[in-house]
Symmetry: C2
Subunit: 335 residues, 2 copies
Amino acid sequence: MTSIKDLARLAGVSPSTISRAVNGKKYVKPEIRERILELVRETGYVPNSAARSMVLKRTFTVGIVIPDTFNMFQRQLFSTVERSLEGFGYHTSFFFVVWEPESELRCLRRIKAEKLDGIIMIHEVARPEFYDFLAKSQLPAVLCTFTRAGGFFHSVHVDEEAAARTATEHLVSLGHRRIGLLSGTHFSFGAQRAEGYRSGLAASGIEAREADAVLLPSYTPEEGRSGMRALLERDLGLTAVFAATDELAIGAVRALYEAGLKVPRDVSVIGFDDIDISAYLSPGLTTVRQPIREMGKRTAEIMSRLIEGHREPGDSVFGHELVIRESTKGPPKGN
Amino acid sequence: MTSIKDLARLAGVSPSTISRAVNGKKYVKPEIRERILELVRETGYVPNSAARSMVLKRTFTVGIVIPDTFNMFQRQLFSTVERSLEGFGYHTSFFFVVWEPESELRCLRRIKAEKLDGIIMIHEVARPEFYDFLAKSQLPAVLCTFTRAGGFFHSVHVDEEAAARTATEHLVSLGHRRIGLLSGTHFSFGAQRAEGYRSGLAASGIEAREADAVLLPSYTPEEGRSGMRALLERDLGLTAVFAATDELAIGAVRALYEAGLKVPRDVSVIGFDDIDISAYLSPGLTTVRQPIREMGKRTAEIMSRLIEGHREPGDSVFGHELVIRESTKGPPKGN
DNA sequence: GTGAAAGCGCTAACAC
DNA sequence: GTGTTAGCGCTTTCAC
């Protein structure tokens, strides 16, 4: 691998001049600069980023912490973030964390080792050490899709509870009275969406029954399927279900299908997130959309400004949107 | 941020001793080691990886090149690769490349700059410079899900053509005679799967008609939907469709749904890959499974051995498996 | 405009 | 067992 010294020897100049030429600095005679750039092309020289970041004391890369099991919503989110960050001149480094304390600590160690310019959390880690580090290190950080009490961190998110209420109210407005809930125990949004479901019901004067809700350990289609099965077995006379994520909803629809029930003829299903695939399901999934692209862009933008030393408002709360497709309609007659 | 010198001062020893203690080397008096480790805990010291890799001349991280638009199949693949690599003691660095020459070159530059221990390609880049660099630099490299003529690179993949043939023959065995094809123009697998479709048809004495096939510019549900629509408009009397990826298949099912046709009652649909979601669709998608986990693990294993300087066989060809779910059945009577 | 020298944080020879 | 020294590849004063 050619180094700056090799190039210096080749060009018959000093390493400093190479450095200046490569980095487009002033004070290099045009013809020398040309010759150097020509040499760079020939040799395929690219400055070693480790060496560079050692002296510059910055890496031009921001870390993105994301669950190892990231779902399609998160996947779309981080792609947008990555692209936008690239636009601001930053690279990204991904840290996949598994849902276990050890993994979070390992991730934290790596983050410290890599001396990143900033950290974006697309995953709500459990370990407080994580947040403590972010706070104490003064590292630019933004929480994407969740907040943390204390107002210390910048965060980009929707009003989860309000959005879940919108979903529930849509079902109610269609005439449903017995509505099931499929949500999860992990991460704040699970509880927040469940709360929105309850308040949506309450606002319509409908009692939220304990038995109508099931809280799953994760938000996968498989959990949605087994959650829906549980609901079905309880024989509650549900005519609709609110699933806290589209993936849970997909599993729920599947369980219904396996039970010989049709969506939306027998049971209506509404999801949350509006992941890409939801529009292509048959029937298309009615859901509450989080403005993924906008949120991703905003996250990158805040990060970039934070790195540049600007101050930024603490919270960016985005609006949600009800997307009505074919998986919801009025309850079957007789109910 | 605490550095090795700070620690040395704190512990009253030299930096070398700190280095030895932290890296678990011999020749450190037990009580001193203890004190140092204690200090490490207190201060939260983590060695700067840039500095470390400069002297070690290796980074313990392998790069994974993957399309920016990676699909669910690739997503599962890289998660497995990442996890397995982690098990071998390597970190991973992702390079998302957009389908355009400039992006591939930018990616190549970054790869050169980062001095990785190896490169895994989960994306078949177009630029020959990329492969030239890999070859000339002697960097351990493995191509995952595709091969390259010349036998120079290690690669992990299935026999795409044979697998597509299996899919087609399944349809034929069900009684279908007019079978549509939805594949793509990009990446070798598009042509290989199309070829498998043709040879599957030929093996059954069925003529492959030009009009029954549509080649899309990408492999998304949206393309599958528009491809299926095109097929429908041609009014060919198709009773089944082979889609070259599950995502294409999902879009095809959607187009059929929108046209008021039922799967599999009116038209059977078979996909390729067996992405996670396929089992949760309603109806479940019949498909050809690539052994994602095994392929991912194998890729990581080969990489690890390559880095350690071992020789490895050039190709790992995995077997595929037909997964029959509900989206395929015999053709409607009267056809 | 250009080069020499110092130094970023770390590890590995090599003394002691 | 431990410290001293050199050096990884780069950028940046500071002379010239």
